[in-house]
Amino acid sequence: MSDLATALVFWPAVAIMLVTGVYVFRTASMARAGLLLLASLGIEGLVFLALASEFLGVLQLLMMSGEMVIMVFFMVMFMPDPGGLMGMDMTHDKRRSASLAVAVGIGLAVVAVLTDWPARVVGRDAPDVRAIGFEVMGRSMLTFLFAAMTILFAMVGGVLLAKHGGRFAQIGAAGKGEA
């Protein structure tokens, strides 16, 4: 992409990403919060694309869609007021957490601007999908296997925790308890 096209994608995408990110926590409706988070993280995929990380950007777009829609679903299930009809307040320690977040944000921004980062190569594309593939199947194979095992454990553990009776339920008695 040309510099102009990159800039035309990058700046609006970053702006929308941050604004929707803020509004995730400023809305009272669960469906809205989840969809705003989807917008924030999905548009982060566009930022990745503008930063020439093609594979990661596309993957981010793909993964976040599924994950955040599930999140919306759970929000609607577990919130007392999923439709946001009453405008209930869902925050605690509002002032302290907000001021801490602002302080951390300013701190990180200052560090990011003031540090002399090693900018060795400017404007070269990030590794392509083939290079990532060789990385996954080569040097980082063990790490990748651990990630796979983690997912497996998460799946089994998640199902165990979520089923009727929790993790102590007897086999065979599952599903008989009250929901």
Binding site: L51, M63, E67, M79, A154
Partner: protein
């Protein structure tokens, strides 16, 4: 002009937004959303470094893959815990969860 500090500032702000969510929200799922935003900020950082400092570092791209996995795992386990807690105490509000004992 897009440069490494710009990307890092954006990532820092996103991290701060996520932090606000984690600290300030009362609902477990909203807290998880904050965590997702923080992980997203970390990914943006890595992608920025990939673009401007170490374009040949495939392990950086791999790290982003691992982070995406982590987000999925966090969501799965988190939702399972919320279901479990909800079944036990009929709420998903953090302030109402005083004990870890099932």
């Amino acid at each position: 002009m897009i440069s490494l500090p710009v990307v890092l500032v954006a990532a820092g702000l996103m991290f701060a937004i996520g932090l606000y969510g984690v600290l300030g929200q009362t609902n477990t799922i909203m807290v998880m959303m904050g965590v997702e935003l923080m992980l997203g900020a970390a990914m943006l950082n890595v992608v920025g470094f990939l673009r401007y400092s170490w374009p040949d570092a495939t392990s950086g791209a791999f790290f982003v893959l691992i982070l995406m996995t982590l987000m999925a795992v966090e969501a799965a386990v988190g939702f399972a815990l919320v279901i479990s807690a909800f079944r036990h105490s009929r709420t998903a509000e953090i302030d109402d969860m005083h004990e870890l004992k099932g």
